[in-house]
Symmetry: C2
Subunit: 519 residues, 2 copies
């Protein structure tokens, strides 16, 4: 075919305007309906455009604007994320073109047809997601197609590897770098803040990086931040960990498996619950963090993420398979997920529980203490010099002697002690038992939602304080739990939900469900 | 459980601000990060909020805003669609709450797990979609889960029924209301604008409502609009059709199966190609339009939507099953989809082809003429008084005698003649053959894209004029086709795509693919 005129690109450009809208992990561009250069609605049906300047380009979803105050006819608006990614200054000149869907969408469509994807497919998909080439609907299509056909274990391995390659990888230059991760779903489960000081006091390297809560009432990073600075530069973190043997920091300063965070932002609102995504998410983050030895905690219970023992055992096998293939020493522990661990749900309340345990106070929540000692003991047994089965006693000794508290204080000082004290939210209401009996059910998910509506974790003092646990006898009008908030509207949201359902079930002693667990 | 204080809703409200952004079928709300009443980031992770005022409510995706000029700390911004749907005036008072995902998402999650859904499930889903309760990612989850597991034919029936119930239904009070629909994918295929005048001239009722193009270069409504007004009120349309026996109008003024349009806006960009959705989409629209007898045209060819005869036959069976269950008399015709029909692609160029055929001009594209006569003949055979096989001759007679042209002019005058004349876009370039030989391939999809980039259909005169068709001999440098545009940037987009690939294949005469079709 003869070649058309090579001068095929329009000379005119639009001036970039930064639009102060945070579109949360999706690039959005704004064009006036009467744009001087392009016919705005011509882009709209397929809705993705490519914005280019000086060799840099971003993909964005296009919204048409009718208000010249927002975006003028000679301008292109970019949401905050798109603006940052393109790296152009306000008023800079850009071109707009129809965007091809990302090349890897072809692999997503194959998965939609039920086919099996290979390593290169997952690598292409994660690369495109990482470059913000995927709109939220395209990410939803990927996640749903994986959840539905299911990923077989080789595909989960490929996905994990691809997600790991999407970011940085930390190196610690020691043969044993310990880590721990809980699959989630159990509020108040702040065992990491006990395990790290105990294991570090033993002398094992445990550089624990955590995320902030996304949909739960508190993440380890949120709770630790009440005590110390958690956002530390990677080299600061390295030096600190070498001296203290451990840390409790936020994982976001090093870009560890960033695709994981992007996918989670679409996955959670859709309520997609996919084993493959879970395993890939956890292992890619841990491998990226440089861990060599990982303890995975799978709580099982009627309102936990995993409800039946056989699911937990299948998940264990999956973690073991992928972990072995990717060269991480992995042990899975199945734990009691019948109810929240400890008494507090929300950063301040959980930090209180943790400090009570570290201080060996008589009021310290016993279930939190026991669980932390068992898990810390299992991690201590990663040490080749520790005899199998001896870990619990070593951990208990470290805790009771005060060495764990001393180590925690050393870590806090090294990271940067938070001088301000935080208390539970002053706005409160209580939920009481309407009849006498025994507590036979405590709904993890419902109580987490109440704490979340009350404002946790952004409201640090917000959350729920549980006064009764499973198996406790209650009289009529005994207080079951207290809800704390910092903002009136949030107290009201929580109150509405409690009014529908408290999350507690009262019954007879013989109705208390037994635990499934190994210890 | 004891009841918490019933005064559980916050008293303060936000003032609504209308934000001039067209977010294209998704409600969006804008809240300032430092909102006076609510903590904006507290909503963000699950991203859907419920905005209420005076008993009315809308669901919206929330975006956080950092610019007080856009939305102030005491305000809630609403995108144009959300603002219209809530029906509140600017400055009106609203409350914001966390939104539950729509109840029917539970059914979507069942479909994601591979289960079969029932009629009530599809009804709940379409009801929620129609009420704008679904975000685009939730709609993507629904579409992908249906496409992947597939819908069995009962499910397709349920979905069709549910989509039909989502809007209005037209009544014509005659025993025979004829209609025709092509599944698409073949540019230039404006047979409707020939079939309607021919069939109406025969005396059969054929009130053809069509959509505007969504991703194709021209829809029937876009092309007809060059000749007459197409946006007519339902009662005007009724009167017109009773007198003329036919019309060629836009279907959007009556709300026919609105869920179909909403789903298409998510489906097309994702490239989801699902038989179930296709059948449900077409039949729900036709039944809503009040048709009793429908001719479905399925073009088959190497670059058509349906590439193999067995797929076409399976699709035919599906249409027949659902059509019979829903009480519409349906005939499926499999036609030649090897290349675009006629010469023009784009509204002005296609209208030219149509008027040439109606005027019995010697230059009229013969393939368009033949196809229109065959399909019109099949529709005429719906008439109980017409002997099977006689339809073609009747249709040809109506066309050659000039009665079809007279009827078209009568319909145009009745709808409201468009006095302005439109010509092909003045900006042009040509694509020529780089070697001699015979045209062995014309890529429907690629040429449609070129026409689309050139600006069709919003650029009425934009598009492609095909000078050579399949089987035509070409010499080196013969012009294959001419691209027209109205906007410089759009000519440039089209030129870029043509430079990569012209869409034509030149080879030997024995390489021309044969047609699969019934006639």
């Amino acid at each position: 075919m003869s070649q058309p005129d090579p001068a095929s690109r329009p000379a005119e450009r639009l001036r970039v305007r930064r639009v102060g809208i945070d579109t949360y992990r999706e690039n959005v561009a704004f064009m006036h309906r009467d744009c001087a250069i392009y016919r705005a609605e011509g882009f709209q049906a397929l809705s993705k455009v490519e914005v280019t300047t000086d060799g840099r380009r971003v993909l964005a979803v296009l919204n048409v604007v009718d208000d010249e105050q927002l975006v003028g006819t000679g301008e292109l608006g970019l949401s905050e994320q798109a603006f940052a990614q393109l790296g152009v200054r306000p008023g800079g000149q850009v071109r707009v073109e129809h965007a091809e869907p990302p090349g890897s969408m072809e692999a997503v469509r194959r998965k939609m047809r039920g086919e099996r994807l290979g390593l290169e497919d997952f690598q292409a998909i994660t690369r495109d997601i990482n470059d913000s080439r995927y709109s939220k609907t395209e990410m939803a299509a990927f996640l749903v197609s994986c959840a539905q056909t299911g990923l077989d274990r080789d595909e989960i391995l490929f996905l994990t590897r691809a997600m790991l390659e999407s970011g940085e990888r930390l190196q610690w230059d020691e043969p044993l770098v310990a880590d721990k991760h809980c699959i989630g779903g159990i509020p108040g489960n702040r065992t990491s803040m006990l395990i790290v000081p105990i294991v570090a006091a033993h002398g094992m390297l445990i550089p624990k990086t955590s995320s902030r809560a996304i949909t739960s009432p508190a993440g380890t990073a949120d709770t630790m931040e009440l005590l110390a600075k958690v956002e530390l530069a990677p080299d600061t973190l390295h030096r600190l960990v070498r001296r203290q043997r451990g840390c409790l920091a936020w994982g976001g300063t090093a870009r560890l498996a960033p695709v994981d965070d992007i996918l989670i932002s679409v996955e959670r609102p859709l309520g997609i619950d996919s084993r493959g995504q879970m395993v890939a998410s956890i292992l890619s983050k841990k491998l990226a963090a440089g861990s060599t030895h990982l303890l995975v905690d799978i709580p099982v219970g009627p309102t936990a993420k995993v409800r039946q023992m056989r699911q937990a055992l299948a998940l264990r096998k999956l973690f073991e398979f992928v972990g072995d293939e990717l060269g991480i020493h992995l042990e899975v522990v199945i734990t009691d997920g019948r109810q929240p661990v400890g008494r507090g749900i929300g950063p301040v309340l959980e930090a209180r529980d943790v400090m009570q345990v570290l201080g060996n106070e008589p009021d310290a929540p016993e279930d939190l203490r026991q669980k932390a000692l068992h898990l810390a003991g299992r991690i201590i047994e990663f040490d080749p010099n520790v005899r199998g089965g001896r870990g619990f006693a070593i951990a208990r000794d470290i805790l009771e002697s005060g060495r764990a508290l001393a180590k925690m204080n050393a870590i806090i000082d090294a990271q940067g002690r938070q001088e301000q004290a935080f208390g539970p939210g002053p706005l409160q209401f209580e939920v009481s038992a309407s009849e006498a009996g025994v507590v036979t059910g405590v709904d993890n998910y419902h109580l987490a939602r109440i704490a979340r509506l009350a404002g946790a974790p952004m409201g640090r003092g917000a959350g729920v304080d549980l006064l009764k646990k499973l198996g406790d006898p209650v009289a009529k009008d005994d207080i079951l739990y207290r809800v704390h908030a910092e903002v009136k509207a949030e107290l009201a949201f929580a109150r509405s939900l409690c009014a529908r359902r408290s999350g507690y079930t009262i019954g007879r002693a013989d109705q208390v469900p037994g635990p499934y667990v190994e210890f």
